[in-house]
Structure formats: structure tokens, C-alpha cells
């Protein structure tokens, strides 16, 4: 039943998410985007049944572009990333449909060994918790140098020089003196810099950062985010930034995809989404950001909980929590519509999977 709805969504809508998103790309989109995720579906077999973590997600990223994927825990944003990287825990996880085209080639059809060679070399990932993402028994220099030794066959001495160079590049003070230090001797922010250095070591084309600043102090978050954005510009990489923090996104992202229950519910160029969200869920997310100018008021929270992925509600998955839900929302899965101005002018890159997007954005 849900499968039928997904295919209906593609035929009926006529416009897929990646098409909507690619309109926003700078450069007109004559070249193939760096990464295209097309109708990706991922499920997890659990004791209680099959959990559909990703239900037909499509997005694309070009070189030098930053896509922010926004959503609550369990919305499928990290699972999508793991499926792209090919590091899904399987079993129980399984890609059950769709394509992931990297430089135009479907990497889901590649052998494990081919995909392993892509990782680190062409695509790399930064994790949330740098404190535990570094191996405690090796010095950071060894771990950085290992990237060159494994993938490039560098000698021990060259690898160490490269490691120092990388540490300089991510602005670790006194890199030369600290190259032999162990992860536990660095602060959280410094460790995340080292993780970034490891991910960028071989100058990949695509970086996926899974909540890279969540585990850090607020003051350090901005520094690390700026560093990541700066290096991305320098190397002209595509960046997928997974986050639940709308504040992190505003400065660095070019476009945003909001996910809910394994689907993209809204896409937009970054600044427009703050001004005029076209989905009630995005509206709710924006309203629940604490604001300095409204001191004393109770903080808004979206009522209810994210749905159980074993039992995604019929119709729009957000309908049980949506303040504006109508009957149609409980029966029909909304398609990702292109969003237009009131007079019908197209808003490039914008899409909304809400039956009432017009009311949401214009009313």
C-alpha cells in the first residue's frame, strides 16, 4: 500500500524532489550534479516488523554546494546519509529501492570493494561525536597519516608531514608539537577539527557531515562550522549537512530539505524558508526556536511525537500533529508540489508536500 503511494507520488507529481532542487543550483544545471539521490527507500527489519526509515527521498548536491537536511531524530536524515555512504548496518538495514548517482553513476549497483574505494577518496563523512570517533589508542598524527598510507601508499615519514599539514589547515595550534598527541589530550572542538581533517585528507568531492557540531559547546560550534564552510569553498566540495539545528543552517547552507518520517516535506533555498515556510511542519520547527525578543513567553512546541516508523500514519505522516489537518490529509499522501507565487510565478527550488501549501505560504 505505501509502495503504491510512492509510485503514485512520482507519476502524479510529475516533478521529483531532485528536479525541484536542481533548479536552484547555480550554473543552470547543464552538468550532471555531483550527487543525485533518486526515490531512495531504506527499511529496517525489526522483531516487530519492517520499519520504513526512508520512503522515497530525492535530493541532489552539486560541487561547491551545501545542502542542509533538517529533521527530528528518526526522520531518516542520517539513514539516508548512511545509505549514500554505504555504511548502513545491514542486516537489519536494507536499501529497498531507488538510485544514488554519484558523478552520474549509480553507486548502489557497485560492488562492496568499489564502494569502499570511494569512501575516504571521493566521499567522506564526519560524525556527530568526535570524542568517540577517534581511536583512543593511536596518536592523532597516526590516524591522520593512515589516510595517506592506506589510500595513497605514502611512507611513514611523508604521512606524518601530511598529517601536520592537515592539522595546520584545520587551524590546530602548534600542529608540529601536537602531531604525536592522543585524542584524549585534545578538547572537543579540536577533536572535531581533527575529524574534519581526516575526512578532507584526500580532498573528496562530497562530504556528509552528520550533526558535526551537536556535541560541541555553543561558542565552539560556530568556529567549527565556519572552518568546515571555508574548507568546502576552498576545495569546491559538495556538502550535505545533516542537522536538527535551524540556527546552524542559516549561515552555511545554500538550500534546505526538511525531512519528516522518511520523506522530504519541504525544499527551499535557505533564506526563503525562514521568511515563508510552505509546510506546517517547517512552520512548527521555526516557531519552536527560542527567541530573544519574546522573553517570558512559553516556548512553542509541536504537539505529539514523531510517528513510529513501523506504523506510519495513513495519508500525510504529519497529519496527527498538524494544527491545520483536514480530512484529505488523513487519507492521501501529499505529493511534493512545486511552490509558486500567488500569481503563478515559479519559485525556483521550492517544493512542499502539503495539500494546503498555498494557504501555508500565502495565507
Amino acid at each position: 500500500m505505501p509502495r503504491d503511494n510512492i509510485s503514485k507520488q512520482d507519476e502524479g507529481g510529475g516533478v521529483t524532489t531532485s528536479e525541484i532542487l536542481s533548479v536552484a543550483e547555480t550554473g543552470g544545471g547543464s552538468a550532471v550534479p555531483l550527487l543525485e539521490v533518486d526515490n531512495l527507500q531504506v527499511e529496517f527489519k525489526t522483531r516487530d516488523g519492517v520499519a520504513k526509515a526512508v520512503n522515497g527521498v530525492s535530493y541532489s548536491v552539486s560541487a561547491g554546494e551545501t545542502l542542509a537536511v533538517l529533521g527530528e531524530s528518526g526522520s531518516g536524515k542520517s539513514v539516508t546519509a548512511q545509505a549514500i555512504m554505504g555504511i548502513l548496518d545491514s542486516p537489519p538495514g536494507r536499501v529497498s529501492g531507488g538510485e544514488v548517482r554519484f558523478h552520474g553513476k549509480d553507486i548502489l549497483k557497485m560492488s562492496d570493494e568499489e564502494r569502499r574505494k570511494l569512501r575516504g577518496n571521493k566521499m567522506a563523512m564526519i560524525f556527530q561525536d568526535a570524542l568517540s570517533s577517534l581511536n583512543p589508542v593511536y596518536s592523532v598524527g597516526d590516524q591522520l597519516g593512515e589516510m595517506f598510507r592506506v589510500h595513497r601508499g605514502a611512507s611513514k615519514k611523508d604521512a606524518k608531514l601530511k598529517a601536520i599539514e592537515l592539522m595546520d589547515r584545520v587551524k590546530i595550534p602548534a600542529a608540529k608539537a601536537r602531531v604525536g598527541d592522543y585524542p584524549h589530550q585534545f578538547s572537543g572542538g579540536m577533536r572535531q577539527r581533527i575529524m574534519i581533517a581526516m575526512a578532507l585528507a584526500l580532498e573528496p568531492d562530497l562530504i556528509i557531515a552528520d550533526e558535526p557540531t551537536t556535541a560541541l559547546d555553543v561558542t565552539v560550534q560556530a568556529q567549527v562550522m565556519d572552518l568546515l564552510a571555508e574548507l568546502q569553498r576552498e576545495m569546491n566540495m559538495g556538502l550535505i549537512l545533516i542537522t536538527h539545528d535551524l540556527g546552524v543552517v542559516a549561515d552555511v547552507a545554500d538550500k534546505i530539505a526538511v525531512m519528516y518520517a522518511g520523506r522530504i516535506v519541504e525544499t527551499a533555498p535557505v533564506h526563503e524558508i525562514y521568511k515563508r515556510p510552505s509546510h506546517p511542519y517547517t512552520r512548527g520547527l521555526l516557531d519552536s526556536i527560542p527567541r530573544l525578543d519574546q522573553k517570558g513567553q512559553e516556548l512553542y512546541a509541536i504537539k505529539g511525537l514523531p510517528p513510529n516508523l513501523l506504523r506510519i500514519p495513513a495519508g500525510c505522516a504529519f497529519s496527527p500533529r498538524c494544527p491545520k489537518a483536514q480530512d484529505i490529509c488523513r487519507t492521501e499522501i501529499p505529493v511534493l508540489h512545486p511552490v509558486t507565487e500567488q500569481d503563478g510565478t515559479e519559485l525556483p527550488g521550492r517544493g512542499s508536500a502539503c495539500h494546503f501549501w498555498k494557504e501555508q505560504i500565502h495565507g
Binding site: 555512504m85 555504511i87 569502499r116 574505494k117 570511494l118 569512501r119 575516504g120 577518496n121 567522506a124 563523512m125 560524525f127 561525536d129 568517540s132 570517533s133 577517534l134 581511536n135 583512543p136 589508542v137 593511536y138 596518536s139 593512515e146 589516510m147 592506506v150 589510500h151 587551524k171 590546530i172 595550534p173 602548534a174 608540529k176 608539537a177 601536537r178 604525536g180 598527541d181 592522543y182 584524549h184 589530550q185 585534545f186 578538547s187 572542538g189 579540536m190 575529524m195 581526516m198 575526512a199 559547546d217 561558542t219 565552539v220 568556529q223
Partner: protein
């Protein structure tokens, strides 16, 4: 813990100012092994144990030079002599110098003890790693085999094997190893199961490390602590095992100067010539304590919770 708490703030979060300032000499930083060593030497008993083990190794290596007499030389005119100036620990029923025999026995004990632990660890690590990393069927298979071996009491199992193969050093090593690997593989398997879910293993995978590389550089070094501690502890236990087998008449051949053999020979003289069993027991006890102290110290030094 204290040395960490008192160390000045490291990796301060202001790279711009720190980077532009000339690199000032940082307070001496201990590496990970440095810290482990530091914690180890703070444990007095562990250091005592280390000295005992060092002394045992030297005795085993240079036994001929240390022993005042040939351990096999009989002096039938001078049997059962009490400890005196010439024979420091007396002579046995055949007039052989006890001290020289105990020194010669050190080599046998250390060799057999270390060799059987070595093989136990070798088998245990290989099978435990397979069980822990590949999980599923391999895990079930290895663990059920381990259960079978754990179900045998060590002594009885070893005695049965030696009854079949005959007495000798090799059968003793093999039978002790066969009944010790199961614990090693269980220990390793359980720590691998937790280490493989660590973020750095996922991170290594996401950066393109191969399966074998992940096992070798990320999983094993982080799971070996328990095995290392167990192995150290158990060298002592195994040496007792060797002596016990010989005592029961199922160990090394009777003519080999071995602590268990000497104990067995001494048991007929309890209450008469007590030095015949006291000195061999003393060697066994001190050896076991030495390895136990070091194992204890290692466990505390390697315990990540104390960091």
C-alpha cells in the same frame, strides 16, 4: 586521575591567537602508554611483582651459572642433608642439591607456563576475533565449542590427555593450552562486541578502511586489554597447573627437575625433612604472587574508568 585533573588546559579553543603566538614550550605531556606506565609504577605491589618476574626470567635464562651444583648429580653419601653452608636448601633422597634443582625447575616452570598461555592466547584470540567480528553463525559455533571445553575441569581434562600421550613437556603445554583458550576467546569476543559498535569503527568504515584493517588497527588493539590482563594473571595459575600435574604423576617426567616433581618427592618427608616441600612450595607461591601482582597492576593501569 589526579595527573589529568591538574594538567593545564590543553587544546584551548582560540586557535587564532594561539597560532599566531610563538609556540611556547608546553608542559610535558604523557602519551597514552606513558600514562599507563605512570599508573602502573604507582602501584607498589605491581612493581614488586615485576621484580619477581624479572628475577624468575633471569634465573630461567642463566640457571647454569647460578646453580652451585649440577641439578642431576647424585651424592649418595650425602642424602637428605638439612640446609647448610654448602647445600643452602639441603639435598634430596638421592643427595641432589635442592637449590640447584629448584633453579633448574624455574626454567621448566617458566617455559611451560608461558608456552601454554601463548598457545591458549593464540587459539583464543583467533577464534574469539572470528566470533566477535563476524557474529551470527560463526559466533554461535565458536562459543558452543568454547562451552564444551569450559565444561571440562582443567585438571581432569589435562590428566586424560597426558594419560593418552604419555608424560612430557609438550603434552603438558598442549593440554593446558587446550583447556585455557576458551576463556580467552570469550573475553575477547565480549569486548569486541562492544568495541565494534564504537563510533571510531564506524568512522574508519566511512573513511574507506577495509574490514581486515578495521579488525587489526581499530578493534583488536581496543579489545585486547582484558586478554592481556587475563594472560598475565594466568601465567601464575598455569605454573601451578604444571606443578599440580607433575605432583599427580601426570606432568613432566620424574627425572626432570620440576617444582611439582620435587613437591611430590617431598610429601613423603612431611614432618621429618620439611625443607623438601617447603622450598618448592615457596618457589611456586612467589611465582604465582609475582604474576598476580603484575596482572592486578596492569588491570588498574589499563582501566579506562580511572583515566
Amino acid at each position: 586521575m589526579s595527573e589529568l585533573a591538574t594538567s593545564p588546559a590543553i587544546g584551548d579553543e582560540n586557535p587564532v591567537s594561539s597560532a599566531s603566538a610563538p609556540a611556547e614550550p608546553r608542559p610535558k605531556q604523557l602519551s597514552q602508554w606513558g600514562e599507563i606506565r605512570h599508573r602502573f609504577v604507582q602501584n607498589k605491589l605491581a612493581v614488586v611483582g615485576l621484580f619477581i618476574i624479572a628475577a624468575l626470567f633471569l634465573t630461567a635464562a642463566f640457571g647454569e651459572m647460578l646453580a652451585p651444583f649440577d641439578p642431576a648429580a647424585q651424592d649418595l653419601e650425602n642424602t637428605l642433608a638439612s640446609p647448610n653452608g654448602t647445600h643452602w636448601m639441603g639435598t634430596d633422597a638421592l643427595g641432589r642439591d635442592m637449590f640447584s634443582r629448584l633453579i633448574a625447575g624455574t626454567r621448566v616452570a617458566m617455559f611451560v607456563g608461558l608456552a601454554s598461555i601463548f598457545f591458549a592466547v593464540l587459539i583464543g584470540v583467533a577464534l574469539g576475533a572470528i566470533a566477535g567480528y563476524f557474529a551470527g553463525f560463526a559466533d554461535t559455533l565458536v562459543m558452543r565449542i568454547a562451552d564444551v571445553f569450559l565444561a571440562f575441569p582443567l585438571m581432569i581434562g589435562a590428566v586424560v590427555i597426558i594419560l593418552v600421550t604419555g608424560r612430557g613437556i609438550t603434552p603438558v603445554i598442549i593440554s593446558l593450552a587446550i583447556f585455557s583458550w576458551a576463556t580467552v576467546s570469550r573475553l575477547l569476543r565480549s569486548s569486541i562486541l562492544s568495541v565494534r559498535e564504537m563510533d571510531y569503527v564506524h568512522a574508519a568504515k566511512a573513511l574507506g578502511a577495509s574490514g581486515w584493517r578495521i579488525v587489526r588497527t581499530h578493534i583488536l588493539p581496543n579489545s585486547m586489554t582484558a586478554v592481556l590482563v587475563y594472560a598475565t594473571f594466568n601465567v601464575g595459575t598455569t605454573i601451578v597447573g604444571v606443578a599440580a600435574l607433575s605432583f599427580l604423576g601426570a606432568g613432566v617426567p620424574v627425572d626432570v627437575p620440576e617444582w611439582g616433581n620435587m613437591l611430590a618427592a617431598g610429601q613423603g618427608f612431611i614432618g621429618v625433612n620439611d625443607y623438601l616441600w617447603v622450598f618448592p612450595s615457596l618457589f611456586v607461591v612467589v611465582t604465582v604472587l609475582g604474576f598476580a601482582f603484575v596482572g592486578d597492576g596492569l588491570r588498574d593501569a589499563l582501566d579506562p574508568k580511572l583515566r
